[in-house]
């Protein structure tokens, strides 16, 4: 049966109501010449021919399975146990979102509840939502939470310059027109001490990244305390995988912990879909955007799961809701849940330690090369900055010829760091690959 929503009679009635004779008249404002441009499409192909063409396109791509990847900068190449995909392929779980009639989907709700529990354990926080779109939007939602916490009476947000540059851009886009002052990230050298000096009674939130975009690990305890002294919220952006071995931000006073969940079992596939982790303390739960699954009992006393604390925000208050985010990354949250369940506490720690040790091995070797030096003066996790003897783009182009994906060119985001490369090392790289990378860098420094 064809699905035709309107009858001809209904269409005529609608046109009459708006005083138009013909549907085509509605397009009158579009110049006739561009209304139906010639698309110059090729002739139709058979399915077999289409498959050949797509296959050729796919093979023209260099993906991480056939390369050594030293590129990170927010998206990391980690091993994904096959059970993750296996569970994702179960059609019972097929949805990108929180279900619209949630309570009938007990399995989905239980998976989200477990996701939330795992995120709380990782971050050391009391409450997690069912996830956001990605790390950047999660940070923007943290800003919105802080603004609502202060009922719009504070308008200054202090951002560390070593929060991912894209995240800071998204925060600016998200909050444009709200009359906020976003400050702190003008100078890439701004440390917690400089950020502390910017805190005042106007500050709604201060946000930092841990490990930061340039790989460094800082002690943020004092900054957190200083934020609380002026009544501001303290937000920490994390790499959740690093928390396998690092102290959770909940232990040093974070009010909100957000981050990109991609390292936990999500492939790096052309930028997404990713998943935004959003956790906070219970006292802020009613200001938190998104979905929240709770555990309860039914009339027979049996365990069950429900969406909780949402009616007020999205269903009833509507225009007064603190955020219009009403859903989550359902399938991706499931993937991270399966990943973390598979790895367990010990497994996750092992992955984090492998990344840490391999990265430090690489840094030691690269630092010893003529013409190169390691920029980081503080402890780092699995990413570090290399000062190079020539433009990073030039080095990366040469590396690509031997199937090595070089590090991130920092010059664009941090003009002070021109000719500096951000190198990421994960458990996926063998010692041999690291040595090959180092040898290639050495060779490239000569000519």
């Amino acid at each position: 049966m064809a699905y035709i929503p309107h009858t001809e009679q209904e269409r005529q009635q609608m046109l009459a109501a708006i005083g138009v004779d013909d549907i085509d008249d509605l397009y009158g404002a579009v110049p006739a010449g561009v209304r139906f441009p010639d698309l110059e499409l090729p002739d139709p192909l058979s399915e077999m021919e289409v498959m050949d063409e797509l296959q050729a396109l796919a093979e023209a791509n260099l993906e991480v399975k056939h390369a050594s990847c030293f590129l990170g900068a927010g998206a990391y190449n980690h091993f994904i146990p096959s059970v993750v995909d296996h569970i994702l392929l179960r059609s019972e779980f097929y949805t990108a979102y929180t279900p619209y009639q949630p309570e009938i989907s007990q399995g989905t709700l239980q998976a989200i509840f477990e996701y939330q529990s795992l995120m709380c354990q990782l971050t050391g926080m009391e409450v997690s939502n069912a996830s956001h779109y990605d790390g950047a939007t999660a940070l923007a939602e943290a800003v919105i939470l802080a603004l609502n916490h202060h009922r719009g009476k504070r308008s200054k947000v202090v951002l560390s310059p070593t929060i991912h540059p894209h995240y800071r851009q998204v925060v600016r886009t998200y909050t444009q027109g709200m009359g906020l002052t976003l400050t702190g990230d003008e100078n890439c050298e701004n440390s917690p001490k400089e950020l502390m000096a910017l805190l005042d009674e106007e500050t709604t939130m201060v946000a930092v990244q841990y490990p930061d975009f340039l790989g460094n690990l800082e002690d943020f305890s004092e900054l957190g305390k200083a934020a609380h002294e002026v009544g501001a919220l303290f937000c920490v952006v994390v790499n959740p995988l690093a928390l396998g071995m690092l102290r959770p931000p909940g232990e040093f006073g974070a009010d909100v912990v957000v981050g990109e969940g991609q390292p936990l079992g999500i492939p790096i596939s052309y930028g997404g879909p990713y998943i935004g982790i959003f956790t906070t303390q219970e006292k802020y739960v009613r200001k938190m955007a998104g979905r929240l699954v709770g555990e309860t009992v039914d009339v027979d006393g049996k365990r069950g799961y429900v969406l909780t604390l949402t009616p007020r925000e999205q269903h009833i208050r509507r225009d007064k809701a603190t955020s219009n985010i009403c859903t989550n990354q359902g399938l991706i949250a499931l993937a991270t849940t399966v990943y973390l369940s598979m790895m367990g506490k010990t497994g996750l720690r092992k992955v984090a330690e492998l990344c840490f040790h391999k990265a430090h091995y690489a840094a030691e070797r690269i630092g010893a090369l003529e013409g190169y030096s390691i920029w980081n003066k503080k402890p780092f996790f699995h990413e570090f900055v290399v000062k190079c003897p020539k433009p990073v783009a030039e080095i990366n182009e040469a590396l690509l010829d031997i199937d090595i994906l070089g590090g991130y060119d920092l010059g664009e985001d941090y003009p002070e760091l021109k000719d500096h490369m951000l190198v990421a090392v994960t458990e996926m790289l063998s010692r041999e690959e690291i040595d090959d990378f180092t040898d290639a860098l050495q060779e490239l420094s000569h000519d």
């Binding site: 009613r286 007020r312 208050r317 007064k320």
Partner: protein, 130 residues
């Protein structure tokens, strides 16, 4: 339902008790009955804020609805009932007593004349009950 004679009422179901220049406000018995079990009360203002007539000073949430609570007349907030955060159910059990929401200094006493007395409010309730 109980609607004390010494109070004034708004069309949006708030009451106000006037003592000198000081106003105390909360939700009426009818409002709490319509909302059913109240589970959350949150102030939307701070002490010292000047709040206009009709502007929200609090939000309450029940098991079936959420609602903003408005100022019956303009005033400057002098006190907020912090205890309700822990015991929101008082709005159901003692709407005119322990469950007052905010106290404030009345900015313009003339605004009180626009409010309903007990008889007018009871009629307002009856009309909606059909």
């Amino acid at each position: 339902m109980n609607f004390p004679e010494d109070l004034k009422y708004t069309e949006s179901d708030e009451w106000i008790r006037v003592e000198g220049n000081l106003g105390t406000t909360g939700l009426t018995d009818y409002a709490q009955d319509q909302l059913s079990d109240i589970v959350y009360v949150e102030a939307a203002v701070d002490v010292g804020d000047a709040v206009a007539k009709g502007e929200a000073h609090s939000a309450v949430e029940s098991v079936k609805a959420a609602a903003d609570i408005y100022m019956p007349v303009a005033g400057t907030i002098t006190e907020i009932n912090e205890a309700l955060a822990e015991t929101p159910e008082l709005v159901n059990s003692d709407p005119y007593g322990q469950a007052w929401l905010v106290k404030f200094e009345i900015s313009d006493p003339a605004e009180l004349d626009g409010l309903m007395d007990q008889a007018a409010y009871m009629k307002h309730v009856e009309e909606r009950e059909g």
